[in-house]
């Protein structure tokens, strides 16, 4: 056998795809259009740098009024006033997580390819969930405030929708990836679909489910800062009020507080996950 014969039997190198260079070029063009003065937002770098001097006042402003100093001078005596709204935020997050995650668990099994009873349920469920996820949490809050009035209840409802959307998506994708061997074993033993899901699938995804639930709890604490702005209660209400009054040093107390709570919850969830998985 000659070397030439060998070379003929090898496959020809496929031609390089045009998709990658085309993609890069279109990305650059779109970005330029978005930045340009004619078609886009007209980003001016000089103006941007000029405005940076305002940061000095924001951070270090000195004033005899304790509430009226810069962000780097947190007005700690303001802290007790934030206790009640912070507690409200925590309560909203706990209630919304409990209800949202509780609803998400059974729903997730209906919209996973592995455990769905039939294609109709699967497709209908997936469509409804895309709609639920497409609506941002703040829009839910606005809708429920319009329907129910200002307060924590519309905030909780908004968070529940948000949580169901997130947990069902993550959990159903986890269910898609489970070991299907035990499912076959369950079917072969004459167990019903619900029984098979409970004993062949749930033990496999339970640690993930707990992790996702803790994750959305954390997201709820963060989201409630935004929801408060539109009137859905919690720490966001205080955040927005102090912002409107330019009380940077009070605002800074709230920012630090939210930060600490999110970090704490993060630590607790890491610890719990490690014990569960």
């Amino acid at each position: 056998m000659t070397a030439a014969a060998d070379a003929r039997s090898r496959p020809a190198k496929p031609r390089p795809s045009l998709a990658v260079p085309l993609g890069i070029v279109s990305f650059l063009v779109i970005t330029w259009l978005a930045v340009s003065r004619e078609f886009g937002i007209g980003l001016d770098v000089g103006e941007l740098i000029g405005n940076l001097t305002r940061i000095e006042g924001l951070l270090w402003r000195v004033s005899t009024d304790q509430a009226d100093r810069g962000l780097l001078n947190p007005n700690w005596p303001f802290l007790p006033q934030t206790a009640e709204p912070m507690l409200e935020t925590l309560q909203m997050a706990v209630i919304a997580s409990a209800i949202g995650c509780g609803l998400a668990l059974p729903i997730a099994f209906f919209v996973s390819r592995v455990t769905t009873p039939n294609a109709g349920v699967f497709n209908a469920g997936r469509s409804v969930l895309s709609v639920i996820r497409a609506i941002p949490d703040i829009l839910y809050a606005l809708i429920f405030i319009a329907a129910l009035g200002v307060g924590p209840l519309p905030g909780i409802l908004a968070l529940i929708f948000f949580n169901v959307g997130v947990v069902v998506k993550l959990l159903s994708e986890t269910v898609d990836g489970v070991d299907v061997g035990p499912i076959e074993a369950g079917r072969a033993s004459g167990a019903s679909r619900a029984q098979t899901v409970r004993w062949a699938v749930m033990p496999q995804v339970l640690p993930n489910y707990v992790a996702y639930s803790l994750y959305v709890f954390e997201l709820n604490i963060r989201a409630s800062t935004v929801l408060g702005i539109v009137g859905a209660g919690g720490i966001g209400r205080i955040l927005y009020r102090e912002y409107s009054l330019f009380h940077w040093s009070n605002l800074s107390v709230v920012i630090v507080e939210v930060f600490v709570f999110v970090i704490l919850i993060e630590f607790v969830s890491i610890w719990l996950r490690r014990r569960l998985v």
Partner: protein
């Protein structure tokens, strides 16, 4: 009794996995199926409990037609047929006992089973099944922490917990080392003899088939090409089934550990 009547399975891709198989398996028999991979061994086994739907003919199990059984009838039928798998198919993240209790789900109501409130009698059946394969001391251990051989015995216990009349074993020792293979095969043989459970085992290794089988059937390209007493199956027979000369890969070679 299990009766194959001209049973055929053609997969959606057009593969004829089983061609016009007619076969009778009397109650209490231990029958071994041999054949190359792709010969239709797994399909034949799964046709018995309806995990693979027939495309022609029928399989009659205890007087029930698998092909025309409705969902509820099929579940009732499956509850009488235990199944053991090559890769054990255990839920690794939960305890051995929870795995074995899956064999009692068919006898447990929906609400009870969703809450995990198994009746004490069902837990007792599961424990006895574990005792029968000599692994009851691992009842509260997570399945992931067991060796392959131990996991397969848990798989057998799960099937036994159904209190089945039939036992299907799909390549039960293909993932195990030779000494462990003999332990598992002896467990199956003992269960077949002591409990009178009709047992059907897919095997790749010819020496195991001869040692443990009462009757051997051979499949080639979905067709039944041999059916006879295990004692009469010699090298020529196997050559015929395999359609080629035998190699060292076709035998397990390790002697049973006594």
């Amino acid at each position: 009794m299990i009766r194959f009547q001209n049973a055929s399975v053609t997969y959606p891709g057009g593969v004829h996995a089983l061609r016009h198989v007619t076969l009778e398996i009397p109650a209490g028999q231990l029958m071994v199926i041999v054949g190359l991979s792709g010969a239709g061994k797994s399909t034949l086994i799964r046709a018995i409990n309806g995990l693979v739907p027939l495309t022609d003919g029928d399989v009659i199990v205890d007087g029930v037609s698998v092909r025309s059984a409705k969902a509820g009838d099929l579940r009732r039928l499956r509850s009488k047929i235990g199944m053991i798998f090559q890769t054990f198919n255990l839920v690794k993240r939960t305890t051995v006992l929870n795995n074995v209790l899956m064999g009692r789900l068919h006898a447990t109501g929906t609400a009870r089973s969703l809450l995990g409130w198994y009746r004490p009698a069902d837990v007792e059946i599961a424990m006895q099944a574990l005792e029968r394969v000599d692994i009851v001391e691992k009842a509260y251990v997570r399945a992931a922490n067991l060796s392959g051989g131990q996991q397969q015995r848990v798989g057998i216990a799960r099937a036994l917990a159904q209190e089945p009349r039939f036992l299907l074993a799909d390549e039960p020792v293909a993932s195990l080392d030779p000494p462990t293979s003999h332990v598992v095969m002896r467990d199956l043989q003992r269960i077949n003899r002591d409990l009178g459970i009709t047992t059907i085992v897919n095997l790749h290794f010819l020496d195991l088939a001869k040692v443990y089988g009462e009757r051997i059937i051979g499949l080639r390209a979905g067709e039944l090409v041999y059916d006879g007493n295990a004692a009469h199956a010699d090298e020529h027979v196997f050559r015929d089934i395999y359609g080629r000369s035998l190699t060292a890969d076709d035998v397990l070679e390790a002697k049973p550990v006594v």
